[in-house]
Amino acid sequence: MIGWIGLLLAALLPAPAEAQDAKIAEFAGTYQGSGVAEGRDNVYFTIVARDLDVTVKPKDGGFEVTWTTITQGTTRGQRVVRKTDTVSFVPGDKPNVFRAMTPVEPMAGAPYYWARIGGRTMTVYALTITASGAYELTSWARTLNPNGMDLVFRRLSDGEAVRTVRGKLVKVAP
């Protein structure tokens, strides 16, 4: 009798969250897009197509992401700096949480990466400890849509939001 009740409950209860999460293969491809950046300095600047390029490749049970980071000086007139990074992630001990294959040296100023997949969103995080000991926490949340991805980029500095970029990306290559 208890067994039947258990089976009935199992059928009625929703599946665990990870069962509903997108698979890595669904994110695979190259995406391009555009968006607008908003900062606490109230300087808005348009992101050109190449700035939001991202490529996701399934690899060794995890994935490799190549993307561009945009940084702008804190005063007007300072130039925008673009930097392209590639990081490989492998599965961690928890479902849909991934650790980076980069050396873990946060005290030396190297970013400490991790990633998660929740629902249709793949989020990559980078923690950087600055020379002053403050922290910068950057995240790239990429949510699948029928044409590609919606991107929300956020940078926090000691808990304060300093930059948010919202963009739309179209899949241009598998």
Partner: protein, 179 residues
């Protein structure tokens, strides 16, 4: 000649060498302190819960200029028939890093496995201890304990933010009970 002129200008203007970066925790921090404070939990920018808290912290010297911080926080929930105490203990040993005033763990935790990552910075009479943790679903929480030395007292400001839990600010004062 140019170098001599530069030296002469520096001497004439009374310019001094840049202040040396702080590399050690001030001696006054070592000891055991306890005290009281209030915890304010925020939601949508408003305080939605206030709870009293007890604090105990012991800071001791560790090898090679490092230090160990052991702390216990007891939170009181006061509700009819549902009052309770929740206590949390943490102990972290910090080692000097290559950057002046910054201290890290000998081996940082593995965030993806659920281990928190700690680091600390020392600036004049203030010790900031940071903890980044990642929950079972990969979302993060950042906590900062800012302890400022004032004679035999330590003023504590704790702030918590992130994706897992509601933002929280705790303020309190601790008094030295043991050297």
């Amino acid at each position: 000649m140019v170098r001599l002129l530069a030296l002469a200008v520096i001497a004439a203007l009374g310019l001094s060498a840049p202040a040396r970066a702080q590399t050690a925790l001030p001696e006054g921090f070592y000891g055991t302190f306890n005290g009281l404070g209030l915890s304010e939990t925020m939601a949508d920018g408003k305080v939605v819960e206030v709870k009293p808290r007890d604090f105990d912290v012991t800071i001791a010297k560790a090898a090679d200029g490092g230090f160990t911080v052991t702390w216990k926080t007891t939170e009181y929930t006061i509700k009819p028939r549902r009052s309770r105490l929740d206590a949390e203990d943490e102990k972290v040993t910090f080692a000097k890093s290559e950057r002046p005033g910054l201290f890290g763990e000998q081996k940082p935790g593995d965030l993806a496995s659920g281990d928190p990552v700690y680091w600390a910075r020392v600036s004049e009479k203030t010790l900031d201890v940071y903890r980044l943790s990642v929950g079972a679903d990969g979302r993060h929480e950042l906590a900062v304990w800012q302890r400022t030395l004032d004679g035999d007292q330590v003023n504590l400001v704790f702030q918590r933010s992130g994706e897992i839990t509601r933002a929280r600010i705790v303020k309190g004062t601790l008094t030295r009970i043991k050297q």
